[in-house]
Symmetry: D2
Subunit: 364 residues, 4 copies
């Protein structure tokens, strides 16, 4: 039976892969088993965030030196820019080992890729459909037949640049949105709806073009999507519990209704035997392997009946505000801020909220 | 016996004083009793934050219409820019009513002003000494003889301009710092040390010129200071508990060691009968009248052993990151983000942390 | 015959009206003749630019002290935020004196206001129609019957905030754009099309909803529109040459095809007897009373066959880039940067370019 | 006799080296002759500008594929972040060919590197001395004995990060400045003073620690220095005219007294037979191979007697303002904005101004 391993490793810079290299050298990571690497990098998380491409390049160079370029191409490298507030830049290395032991069901990892997305399909039902098919392939890859066992689906999706828009229009196509920054939201939103379709959270018919990004009553409680300039297709990683996997790790999830809604996360931690009235103790924090969350400013401009200004700040993007804020909320719960908070939660949880997943080492 | 009243009122814009006007019209606020108004305004909290001047202007126009320009000049108007993350712009109106009832001791408010500060004393031990004497007068005004009953001291302090520096140098004096912007930090720092002296947190002898702004091991756990160009002296507001006051309100305080250190704040809330294992309930939150905190990125670049990037972000100032982050941490504790988180904490709490005060309505 | 006077006065801060006050005290400005004041203020020129409201408030307070609140309400106060690059914050005070002398035709000033704009009309043909009617009233006010004698039409138009959008939607209306920042562009664009209709540059029928902001082949060569949070209607000022006015001032205009296209401006200067092969001489610069221009990043992402990144910069808005850039281009032509460069030139000149007006004192 | 070749090649992204690759494939560039590559990349040009590291990595990978890693290490890769305003991201590839023909003297290129700079020497006289020695080596490498024949010295210098400061302090060293962003200015300034020493513009004794960054009366009219996080030493490239080189290219230089002072640049162009009363014609622009300039906001806060706000903008760094502004001024002179404007001109030209170099193809 396979076993999933998750390694959380600090990064001193976007291209600092020395911690991963050291773990490989020490035998803690078997590079041939690496199926996905998430990176929380210190750019702005927006259009001109080059920390993601730099991190990807450094990571791929490292992995290629160990497993060759061909195998490296199959590792899902999902860089999420933006470490606002106290967020600590770090890597999450997901490894599949074949000779597992320990309890079962256990954390399982699956992955898939889609074909390149034509620019005119970005933010459109076609993108959601493409992603939904990809999520189903990733579930099969993970050995998770039941959508209710899926706790987190991380997707890296493309965005539109001025150049890509011009290219599409030059061949007569019409894009859903002509603004680069906005295109990230459309791509994230359509991708999340694809997850919701695959997990049975919404019906595929509900995803009409005019509802994408607009109708926030449609959402997935398990999707986490990030847009990046460095790819043209989708990279999909599914995390869930599978009876076909064994090992010490388990995953749980929750949905935050807004950026302060930490009690569902506290409950999810408790389901992993990490119950605490206030902040996790140091010993508990040690067993918490990874916390992944989406953060977003509510479109309404309100948070619990009070006005927020995140959408009206023309100097700092709302996604940057939201990541810093949710980092504080979740960090105060778990006791540190080396957590994977990703911005832009269109159709990922309700408006202003977002899905959260926690991976913990079980006491055995 | 006097009674302190604190009104927390939402602001729809920096110059939105309609909520205060409505409270006056409804008789909830007696304008003749207003001694101080704090405003959390939605600028960047930095040099070019015009939301503060706009708010001050709107507030003074409103108050002058009720109590005249002369009386308005004696109201301490302390605007703190920056509502990052989910922070809600709002006013805190502090009122002293003479016909009090309810338990005693109770929240007491005192204020004082110092003499104009010679420019050569700004950022120097003389400034700290002047502030210390002023804090003692404000304590006397509040009827608080014991420094341990003081929970928050808000100070508005002067800064140096090119003209002020030239005038000082023309008479042969030498200023501590010739840069206007930097003079704000020196003034805040020296003022905070003055609070620490008055409250017995440090010894006056410890405040040597070369340690001001530099040696962060010197700090007050109760000071909150901000510099403004519009004054040459110091405006001091002391908040604490006094046996000479009665009323439903009480104040407590805590010091956060870093931006995630919410457990001391939870304990302070519990001392006000607002104990909760997780987030405050809606009923509890209703009794929480005000939460005031200082936020800051640690100069070390580390938070609980993990790197943060707040000091290396050239696009967004560290103070903005820190306010958003601490807003999330404290907001997740109390259940909303209409809280007064202020940045720039030289000698106000330890490096990376800061003082916090909570004012609550007691169950009677 | 009336005479137009234009006073260019430096501002040391958004609320610094001391220069205007001094000019009034010295008799250089007759406050009863002031019909419009343009301010180039030092905010970001975007949604949360409070320098505009602060400047407006300071200006209105000053004028009210001289001419009363009722008359002050009829002064068009058009604050344009954003003094990027070397742009100098300044006021342009437009005065109408009745006992004119000097050559005729001469610079003439007219003004008008529209009714408040319903949020659902912002960025729609209704807004253009309302503005067109207003421009015609302002032309009549200026005594300019022929549109070809109009050289500059400055319009201050409203924007949508989260609150205004919510209010509109609460009563069942649907806004053209739900993003505050983007709403500024829609409002500027629809207003500019209104100018183009009034001046006969385009046909009213051409202004279909789907072409607003999108189809940049529609534009006015004389419109300059700025959106601000501080008003709900439109303030319109028309500047042109009228045989009904006399005096030393004359106005000319040009259209820049892109941000580097300064030769048409050089030609316009020459038509006002300010010909120079390179930069204007000091003596020439002295005769240049005002330079007003629109700046914009081309939507195409290209400038003279080379890529620019203004639209892909998520840290600094394209309008801020463009103002700084065009300020350098025009400043290098006229020898200083106390010029009124306003950003966001949707439908104001061709994509990436913009209208320019120059007002000069004729050698008599 | 050697010949210098300069190739100006557009970049579609920081890591877009396809244009260089195509030029190599076409035989236009001989990779074995490449001695230096300057890149104008589209980051913020400040501490967290990862576009520079990404560009460097892509460039080195490309060159290593052609000439091997060892030779690639000797190519000076000088990435200057920041393409504000209309600036076009691009590469300048400097090549030395051995079989030259054409007029002599001609453009000559020399280069050198220094040893790694200890963090405590950054911004100190030791840094200037190290750079001065390096410049002399680069002049020898270029075959330029006379400093008056040097027209441009490009230096890439290191900066301090929180980590580097901590490391230095851990071993008891004391850095000149503890702020990452400010350390860039100190490094640029001390490096420029090193150039001034080497070129005889100032005396080495003049470079006292307390004058670095502070005393702007000390400056080089030929230095261009950029700080980057990606190196610890200095990379030096000298450009000038040498009787030992032949070929069609020639270089001239000028010093701008401020950001609008384009007439000296117009004169330098004329000395290269590119005289024009207004903007260069298309044919002239074709012969202009490269324009390199430094841009800076004056510390005084004044530009030609008018206030600028670049130093008071806490949202956008002064260097970003200045690059956009000077790009407009110079772009309006030469007719496009694919020019190398680099920010942060401490001791590079007078306060608020900066050195400019132009390289042109002579008509033969």
């Amino acid at each position: 039976m396979p076993t999933a391993k998750v390694h959380r490793i600090a990064a001193a810079a976007p291209d600092d892969v020395s911690g991963i290299a050291a773990a490989i050298a020490a035998g803690a990571i078997d590079p041939t088993g690496v199926v996905a690497v998430f990176g929380k990098t210190e750019g702005n998380g927006l259009v001109n965030d080059f920390s993601r491409a730099l991190a990807t390049r450094a990571l791929r160079d490292l992995m290629a030196a160990h497993v060759g370029a061909a195998s490296t191409a199959h590792i899902a490298a999902v860089m999420s820019g933006g470490t606002e507030g106290g967020l600590a830049p770090h890597w999450l290395v997901f490894e599949r080992a074949e000779a597992g032991s320990g309890p079962s069901p256990a954390l399982a990892i699956g992955r898939a890729e889609t074909a390149d997305l034509p620019s005119e399909h970005l933010g459109a039902p076609e993108q959601a459909a493409s992603v939904a098919a990809g999520v189903r392939r990733a579930m099969a890859d993970a050995g998770i037949p039941d959508p209710s066992d899926v706790h987190f689906v991380q997707i890296k999706c493309p965005l539109l640049t001025a150049g890509r828009i011009a290219a599409a229009e030059a061949r007569g196509a019409r894009v859903a949105i002509r603004d680069s920054l906005k295109s990230m939201g459309f791509s994230r939103g359509a991708s999340a709806l694809g997850v919701a379709i695959a997990l049975g959270e919404i019906d595929a018919d509900a995803v009409a073009a005019e509802r994408i990004v607009v109708d926030r009553s449609l959402w997935s409680g398990n999707a986490s999507t990030s847009a990046g300039i460095e790819l043209l297709n989708h990279e999909i990683v599914v995390l869930g519990m599978s009876a076909g996997w064994s090992g010490p790790l388990a995953i749980e999830s929750a949905v935050m209704a807004d950026g302060l809604d930490i009690e569902p996360v506290r409950a999810a931690l408790a389901r992993l035997d990490l119950a605490a009235p206030g902040q996790l103790s140091a010993a508990q924090s040690e067993r918490l392997v990874a916390l992944l969350a989406k953060a977003e400013a509510s479109q309404s401009g309100w948070l619990r009946g009070r006005r927020h200004v995140m959408n009206d700040d023309s100097d700092v993007a709302a996604t940057r505000h939201a990541r810093a804020f949710v980092a504080g909320a979740l960090g105060s719960l778990v006791g540190h801020a080396e957590i994977y908070v990703s911005g832009g939660a269109e159709h990922q949880g309700p408006d202003g909220g977002g899905p959260v997943a926690v991976i913990a080492r079980r006491e055995i």
